[in-house]
Amino acid sequence: MHARTDSGNTDSGNAGDGSTSDGNTGGGTSGGQDGESPGSCKRVLEPAEIRRVLTRIAHEILERTHGADDIVLLGIPTRGVPLAQRLAERAAEFEGRPVPWGSLDVTMYRDDLRLRPARALGRTELPADGIDGKTIVIVDDVLYSGRTVRAALDALTDLGRPRSVQLAVLVDRGHRELPIRADYVGKNLPTSQRETVRVHLAETDGEDAVLLGEWKGALA
């Protein structure tokens, strides 16, 4: 629980997954952040499970793309990026050759920019080969409304013309608001919209965990 406040700060200051993982996009809960307080927090995935899940996704990606020919893994900041890196490293290990990965910031393409004060941008970093003609796997921590992924698709269009685009997420918590689904899912997590799903990663939060918390919001 102590790490929760830390990551809360990172999220509000940062672009990507804040809204998807803390659940502010969906309910239209502008101004709800202040009233947010953790009720009970349940650990849904432990470090060992996250490790196994990522290994499985890496295998699935290799299977589906026939040995990772011309694939690029692009993580959405903040927590999609270390996930993309881990998946790429694992896939490279299994195939015995490097698998390119990078990051894709979607802040400037979001449809909820006007709901909150302007936020700092994340980094977009593509492999030297670019993305033209490649199979792109977008990687994010939590799939929720689908709006982040929609923004990512727009951002990709401005960067080049991939051959195809796939989506890998660590957690799918449902409640989609757009016709979007993931190709690779670490864990399907049925949630209510009042709950929060938080992903902690060693690279950004000091530990690996997926936490499910009750959101006791100020909404009447």
Partner: protein, 314 residues
């Protein structure tokens, strides 16, 4: 961030660093095939220029267009201002047209401040009289940070020497304010006649001897001799000014190895800066122009991109 950008002195260190970091990410976009972001789609930015300007107006226009905003250029020449319309009436006209932001350059110090009181949109000062030119200071700080490899931090301990017509220079005023906010040490070098009387109250050193300061400078910023604002004889002759305060190849050789030479433009080649200095690899003059677009994109994005703040500024 405040609602308007009128003075560099209004920025907190965090604000300034947020603008520079945002500009850093946006600058990476200039290598892309599609140099456009959809962020300000449907927003209108008015460039309201009462004074001649090429680079600043074009820079703001490019910045707004790369963010997909609609841009309306309004220059005083050939407009109803030439027929005697007041700034306030012009402002109300723009307001009625639904300007979300007004970028204003005016020959009167304080005009942007007045404008901010009349319109609902955001006001960005693109240079007002002898007061301030905050986006120039931001792009200069951005250029220094990049060239000196300061990463994403401030400019703590960087020694910046500003040379020339400080008296008439809004660029100098904004730079001194912002450089102080970012932790740099500023030295002004100018003939006594071209220093404002109030310079004693500014947090910077003053020197009249350029040659003594050069070896202790990481950055040397040459200001344009602003003949159009000079109403009296501030120095005996251009040749004498150039000999004492101009930067030529000989003086450039006295700078430390890593030092850079800056100029906000437009330059008077042969007066404050020799052509061979302006064209040397140490000069950042062309870079400053490119960086200007990124910094102005960052400012427009941070002012216009998010929610409208109602109530007190953050």
């Amino acid at each position: 961030m405040n609602r308007h950008l009128i003075s560099a002195a209004d920025l907190s260190r965090d604000d300034a660093l947020l603008i520079l970091d945002t500009a850093e990410e946006l600058a990476r976009m200039s290598d892309r095939p599609i140099k456009k972001l959809p962020t300000l789609r449907g927003r209108t930015v008015v460039n309201l220029f009462f004074e001649d300007s090429t680079r600043t107006r074009i820079s703001f226009e490019a910045a707004a267009k790369r963010l997909s905003a609609d841009v309306i250029n309004f220059s005083a020449k050939g407009s109803s201002v030439a027929k005697g319309e007041s700034l306030k009436d012009t402002a109300l006209t723009l307001e009625a047209m639904g300007a979300d932001a007004v970028v204003i350059r005016h020959d009167a110090s304080g005009a942007p401040h007045r404008l901010a009181g009349w319109i609902r949109g955001h006001v960005v000062n693109a240079g007002d009289g002898m007061h301030e030119h905050p986006t120039q200071a931001l792009l200069d700080a951005f250029t220094i940070r990049r060239r000196l490899g300061r990463g994403t931090g401030g400019l703590d301990g960087v020694r910046v020497t500003i040379v020339g017509d400080v008296l008439h220079s809004r660029v100098a005023r904004s730079n001194i304010a912002l450089l102080n906010i970012l932790g740099a040490e500023v030295t002004l070098v100018a003939p006594p006649t071209l220093l404002p009387i109030a310079v004693d109250g500014w947090s910077c050193e003053v020197s009249y001897d350029l040659d003594a300061v050069l070896p202790k400078s990481d950055v040397i910023m040459m200001l344009r001799v602003q003949k159009e604002r000079m109403t009296a004889a501030y120095f005996p002759s251009v040749r004498e000014y150039s000999r004492r305060y101009g930067l030529d190849a000989g003086r450039m050789a006295m700078l430390p190895e890593h030092a850079i030479v800056m100029h906000p433009g437009p330059m008077n080649r042969g007066v404050e800066i020799a052509a061979e200095v302006a064209d040397s690899p140490r000069s950042t003059i062309v870079e400053q122009v490119a960086n200007g677009v990124s910094v102005r994109m960052a400012v427009l994005y941070l002012l216009l991109g998010g929610a409208e703040l109602t109530g007190e500024p953050r």
